[in-house]
């Protein structure tokens, strides 16, 4: 059952386009790492924020608590503003990934092409539902089930959408698995890192919205002593602590799902990669300590330092994510090199 040698060496990756990449690769890489994390912070806030809006509305109904309901409305407003920024901030990383990883990103996109296009109507419907959710808050006081269903439908779509993106970026890293691919749902179980990435992302979303709600509540309560902002602070710091702790499970779980070579690079195989991960993990543990102390006692200083550490971790994670991609793709770019300007 030996394959002819020419078949063995043939790369599954197409040759790069005839026109060269218009610029200096490291510049593109810095832009994509920075651009992506900016986009992701907003996406985290939108996804977890819309879920939390629904959660607080339900809490308001169940406990007959007007404060929870007001917090839910404020969250829904916040989500509708942040989602507009999340969308525009997503364009730069998409532009760069399309330009510098064309050989990988285009095939992986086309292989889930139908669901990739469905993203557009899905997001339009979700955004419109979330606008309706916000603007009918008072008008539909008498029709709570209807109002709540609108919010739930909008958030459910937002919970689903990241899977499409993750399926694409996980698939582009493993061209050896493209052959026989049967579209989006098949992808979800074809590529071994998808659910781990989803778990890591979701857990980050609820940690970040927690942090955001705390800071936001703290700032807003000074000009408006609505108890909803006090609730936002209390809930926020708890959520930030809990989900950052969960990241200590989600992160290693994701690392374990990666291919042997990539995993080994981060676990001693390469000094640079190991150091990068070690710094991120150390910062995550520091963040947990800070968040625990913040949880016990309010303090502006603790909040500012936690927020700074969190931003550092996010930046590092985006960088690590880029390094993972480079490690996965290295053997392929050797076989089918990118068309760089000389």
């Amino acid at each position: 059952m030996s394959m002819p040698p020419y078949l063995k060496v043939e790369s599954p990756v197409p040759n790069d386009l005839g026109l060269s990449i218009p610029g200096n690769l490291p510049l593109f890489e810095v832009l994509i790492v920075v651009g992506f994390i900016l986009h992701l912070i907003y996406v985290n806030i939108v996804v977890a924020g819309s879920v939390n809006a629904v959660v607080f509305e339900i809490r308001g109904i169940v406990k007959r608590d007007a404060v929870s309901d007001r917090l839910a409305l404020r969250l829904a407003t916040l989500v509708s503003i942040h989602k507009s920024i999340a969308v525009v901030l997503g364009i730069a990383p998409l532009l760069i990934i399309s330009t510098i990883y064309t050989q990988f990103f285009y095939p992986s996109t086309i292989l889930i092409g139908k669901w990739w296009l469905l993203l557009i109507p899905l997001l339009i419907v979700s955004f419109l539902l979330l606008y309706a959710y916000k603007y009918t808050w008072d008008k539909w006081q008498g029709r709570r089930t209807l109002h709540l269903s609108v919010g739930i439908a909008g958030s459910l779509i937002l919970l689903f959408v990241p899977l499409i993106f993750i399926a694409n970026v996980a698939s582009m890293l493993q061209p050896e698995l493209w052959n026989g691919s049967k579209g989006f749902f098949d992808s979800l179980f074809r590529y071994p890192t998808i659910w781990q990435r989803y778990f890591h992302f979701m857990s980050a979303s609820f940690a970040i919205i927690g942090m955001y709600m705390y800071g936001w509540g703290k700032r807003k309560i000074r000009e408006n002593d609505d108890p909803a902002f006090a609730l936002a602070q209390k809930y926020g710091k708890g959520s930030a602590l809990l989900f950052t702790l969960l990241q200590l499970v989600a992160g290693p779980y994701l690392l374990l799902s990666m291919s042997g070579e990539v995993r080994a690079s981060f676990l001693g195989g390469s000094v640079f990669h190991t150091l990068l991960l070690a710094v991120a993990v150390a910062l995550a543990i520091a963040l947990i300590v800070l968040l625990y102390r913040l949880y016990k006692a309010d303090s502006k200083k603790l909040f500012v330092s936690s927020a700074v550490v969190l931003v550092l971790i996010m930046g590092l994670m985006s960088w690590i994510r880029h390094e993972v991609r480079e490690l996965y793709l290295a053997p392929y770019t050797e076989q089918a090199p990118r068309n760089l300007k000389d």
């Binding site: 005839g18 026109l19 507009s84 532009l95 990739w116 296009l117």
Partner: protein, 460 residues
Amino acid sequence: MNFPTIDFGFLGNGNLIGMMAVLHVMINHAVAIGGSVLMVSIEHRASKDGNPALDAYARRLCKWILIITTTVGAMTGVGIWFTTTVILPDAIGALLRIFHWAWFAEWLVFVSEVILLLAYYYTWYKWSGARKAKHLRVGVALCIMSWLTLVIITGILAAQINPGNWVETLSFWDAFLNPTWVPSTVFRTFAAIALGVAVLQALIRWTVKEMRDRLVVQRIFGKWLALSVPMMLLSGFWYLRSLPDKAQTLVKWASGMGDTAFLWLNIGGLLLIFVLAVLLLDGKPKLPAALTVFTAVFSLLLITEFEVVRENIRKPYVIYNYMYANGILKADVEKYSREGALRHAKFAKVKEVTDANKLEAGEELFRMQCISCHSIDGARRSRAMTERIKGWSEETIAGFIPTMHQVRDVMPPFAGTEKEIEALAAYLADIVAKENGAEAALQAENVSGSPSSDDQERKR
């Protein structure tokens, strides 16, 4: 050629890009650009007259502009990227390599546009009274930013049809500063304002109830319209003159109208819109509803026509003189005809045509070289093979393929070997006969009211 292929079946791959683009252009032009200019003009007037009702109308417009542009508007814009990436990866890939930094600059402008729109809406009541001037400045900045996105994107769209010296120099500026850019930008700018007026005027009886305010608003609309219509006519002619010769001759064909019909419909329609402008300026409280409805419908059709024409006249190319509409490089055609297209297609399952795999090879070739515009069966009949080659024999098809680019100006040449032509012909003859046969059988059944095929099966 480099990438996997995808088939959207009855919808049609090309239609999907077209529908996404037209929807996006309608919203971008009518709402984001036209709507914003009118909204800020109305706010300005409200502040000058100290008219809170007018101010409230401008704010209502802002709310709807915000809702529409940040949902359908923004997502269909991203959608044009998504559809082209999936359907025409070689073309959008090449465009991204040429125009990366133009798109990047457009992105920066787009980010500022969204932030300005959010700021404008959420500071409406906070920045009133003495701070109204500052609020209006945000509005003006918003209009400029929305317009700049149009300016940049139009440079790219115009370069697709008229890249000037780019094909030789491969220089970004040669492509971007092409002769079609300025007229096309001017045309789109005023079309956007006219569209904005057309849509808002059609809704005015419900949105501005107070008659005195309505007259004020209509006069603002009238002024903008009276400026826009002549500018559209002038820049429209300038645009036509700036096109490459072959594209000029394709314009009327692309609109699907005869010579006189094309001229009369477009100029006549614009003149009727000008009549509306005069009536609006005249201060008539009640305008003929037919005229406002006509203006709204006609201007939406006009912008659709403009997009359809723009998409069609650059044929057979997607990037003029460089890449054909199916993503094949002009420079590669000869190589593929000699060595075979399948052999060079990374994702093709069949690499060489044999008697056994002929139909499969033909399908691969159809998906590689035809599907970006044609579908086997489809809603757009002029693109559906079941219509175009209805009743053609395999030999007729095989005879037509090598000459189709000479017979039809808009068709790119087939890039492949004799064997590949035969395979494509065999596949097309087979599938078209099957589809048409199935349809004919179905029709025959419906007409005669005979028992369904299930029943016949059982009887047998």
